[in-house]
Symmetry: C2
Subunit: 426 residues, 2 copies
């Protein structure tokens, strides 16, 4: 039987980074840049004022002080978005607002607070300001944002492979980049199999259970950036299964749940072996042993033949989700062009002992939280593979290695963090 | 001037948790449960088999072993989703598949591997199996999943206030819960102000810069679960500003960028003071000092008057994003019903010295990563408030307290993690 790493490597080797697409920058959040972004302009495009005040020649203000203001003639006002046609000549100043381009002749900006403008306004509220007293000396370049200070024309501002975050979206906008080339998101077809399954909007017939896997798996696909395509339920017979599988033919990845065990009605692995190609079946892991992986025939949007990677997940609710985290999540991330495929994990103290009598690697569901500066993993009740509450409560999977017969309460274990996000205490 | 905490508390006290809405469970990912979810059924609904094998009476198998198999009469087969009408009487067994309800009379399941079924099939491939030899004794309840083992009828399976994750969505599906009551997401109107701004799809006129704030702020709103509504650009005049602000009247939160400084054309704070109510202006923080917060008049969807919290963000690209993280993100999370409003933060060693000459709290942009078991914060180049690249590169904000005049290279600082997600190394 394959180890977790062997199985994952086989899956990843059959999965490729998807094609590029062009999307509006606002839609690109979380996707991966498919090419370097170069700037065709300087940001800011012109030298401009960092303050509201007066654009001056620093040479005019030598010796200026609170007690000895230098009085300059005010020849114009320039606001952000405007351009002054005047030039600051010796003894003159131009009133300037933050962001406005520095007028010709000026080499420095004096903020309003260091002038007598407010006093003059009070003394003669209705008159335009024709002169201003300046209370401080300045040096060339003061309170001026230089053209290209943020981004230089021709510079690479973002590199291929970057995961796009809000700051990157703002940066692209600042150079007028409205659309961006990214790796597209995978369309993931999800088919639940089993005669025992009923759709969630129906009244439950006796002997049946609700199809929960489509929803847990569908939202995992969404969470990790894929586009889930729910194909509903297939019965455990060849005809229904083959016809439902056909609906997955344009997908980038096919996930089925159930039908991969030893029973007479476990058709998925048989159909996979017959119509596609079975790469492996069974992994040395608990829960999730009867995982099947192979390739099905599919079509590209322009009608060409292609193969679709097919992960046959176990039907048990928890096995299904754990297998997804271990084997499907990395595949989706790889397809999206992401580089970091491992789950974040921490070292944690386990709060109860676990016996490993199967000789497989165990992933038990746990709540892992920091206590007194140390992570503590608390198992979420019974760990049977059908026990979905254990998974709904958990924020982590505790790893018990295959060669470890028992971990004792208080031992240090590795905890894979399921919900490693802003809501987790660190 | 208000401290960061005082300003944030004022904002949060003016912001309320939004109303409930009912959404399909697949759309509820990341939202907060507005009520407890109770189960109307047992999961699983009936005692059922955990294995493929034979449903038996344990009393029949006393003394069974590899050398002394007990032979039972096979009277039926039951598959998952089916119900056997037969009863397991002494000396009989019913073939059973995983998930199928346990037939009347049986109290245990024997897996195929512990029977001679395979041998019998080989010896007579075309004949139905009428008898089976069992190689092991068993006890009552073995390999049976009890009704209600996962969820008991009437039990609270998820509590009000829970943030919905994939496991919770699966759990709701398992009890046939197709739609769920959650706190709705806020609609956040975003208006950039400034005569200097140009839309990103236009050729840039001289003296103008592209409107990047709408896009950085819009994607931050998205990232934290809100619904951004981009209202474009307003010029720095009363008429345009008032008319554009009117488009925000149905929003839950209004964000403007720019127009909150000291300049003549900084109209936003004047309009806010005139048409709405100004709660505060200016915060002791760098970047982001000229933050304005108030309340504007708005309307509910059924035409009633309401007040809309209005955060007037600074116009500088970086100030704007930093102010969002500090003041708007917690407001959005509170509106969504979330409880944890603080950014995750870590202690980190800073890689250069920072002088705090403003007496305000500084948030410098940094890349904070683990090195040799310790977080190290590396500032992302020049920290001017217009420098958007510093923000695009950063994964964290390093906090320099207002009362600290200088931190030295090698000092320990608090780093607020901007991108605390699965892509971050921990």
């Amino acid at each position: 039987m394959l180890t977790v790493e062997e199985a994952l490597n086989k899956i990843l080797s059959e999965v490729s980074v998807l094609e590029k697409e062009t999307v509006p920058i606002m839609d690109s959040l979380g996707q991966v840049l498919a090419e370097d972004v170069l700037s065709v302009l300087n940001v800011p495009p012109l030298d401009n004022s960092a303050m509201d005040g007066y654009a001056v020649r620093s040479a005019d203000l030598k010796g200026a002080g609170e007690k000895s203001p230098k009085v300059l003639k005010v020849i114009d006002t320039v606001i952000a978005g405007g351009i002054s046609k005047k030039e600051v000549t010796p003894g003159t100043a131009i009133r300037i607002m933050t962001g406005a381009p520095i007028p010709k002749g000026a080499d420095s900006v004096i903020p309003f607070e260091s002038t007598d403008e407010e006093k003059r306004k009070k003394e003669a509220p209705d008159k335009p300001i024709l002169q201003v007293g300046i209370f401080e000396a300045t040096k060339s370049g003061e309170h001026i944002r230089k053209a290209g200070e943020d981004v230089k024309r021709g510079a690479t501002i973002l590199t291929k492979g970057t995961v796009i975050r809000p700051g990157a979206i703002g940066l692209m906008a600042s150079i007028g980049y409205g659309r961006v080339r990214v790796i597209r998101r995978p369309v993931v077809a999800i088919l639940s199999t089993g005669n025992e399954l009923s759709e969630i909007y129906e009244v439950l017939p006796e002997g049946k259970i609700y199809n929960s896997n489509s929803y847990s798996i569908g939202s995992l696909v969404k969470q990790y950036g894929g586009i889930p395509k729910l194909l509903g339920i297939a019965l455990d017979n060849e005809k229904d299964l083959v016809s439902k599988l056909k609906q997955a033919q344009y997908a980038d990845l096919l996930l089925t749940t159930g039908g991969v065990s030893m029973g007479d009605y476990d058709m998925v692995k048989d159909i996979l072996a017959r119509d596609g190609q079975m790469v492996f079946w069974k992994v040395k892991v608990k829960p999730g042993k009867p995982l099947a992986f192979g390739k099905m025939k599919g079509k590209t949007l322009d009608g060409k033949e292609k193969t679709i990677p097919h992960v046959g997940l176990p039907g048990n609710a928890t096995s299904c989700m754990v297998s997804f985290e271990l084997f499907v999540r990395p595949a989706i991330l790889k397809m999206m062009g992401k580089k970091k495929l491992e789950k974040p994990s921490v070292k944690a103290i386990i709060n109860e002992s676990v016996v490993n009598d199967a000789g497989r690697r165990i992933y038990d569901r746990a709540i892992t939280e920091k206590q007194d500066g140390q992570y503590v993993a608390k198992l979420t009740g019974p760990q049977g593979s059908g026990i979905l509450t254990s998974m709904a409560l958990a924020n982590s999977l505790v790893l018990i290695p295959e060669e470890t017969a028992k971990v004792n309460k208080g031992d240090t274990v590795q905890a894979l963090m399921l919900d490693w996000n802003e809501e987790v205490d660190i």
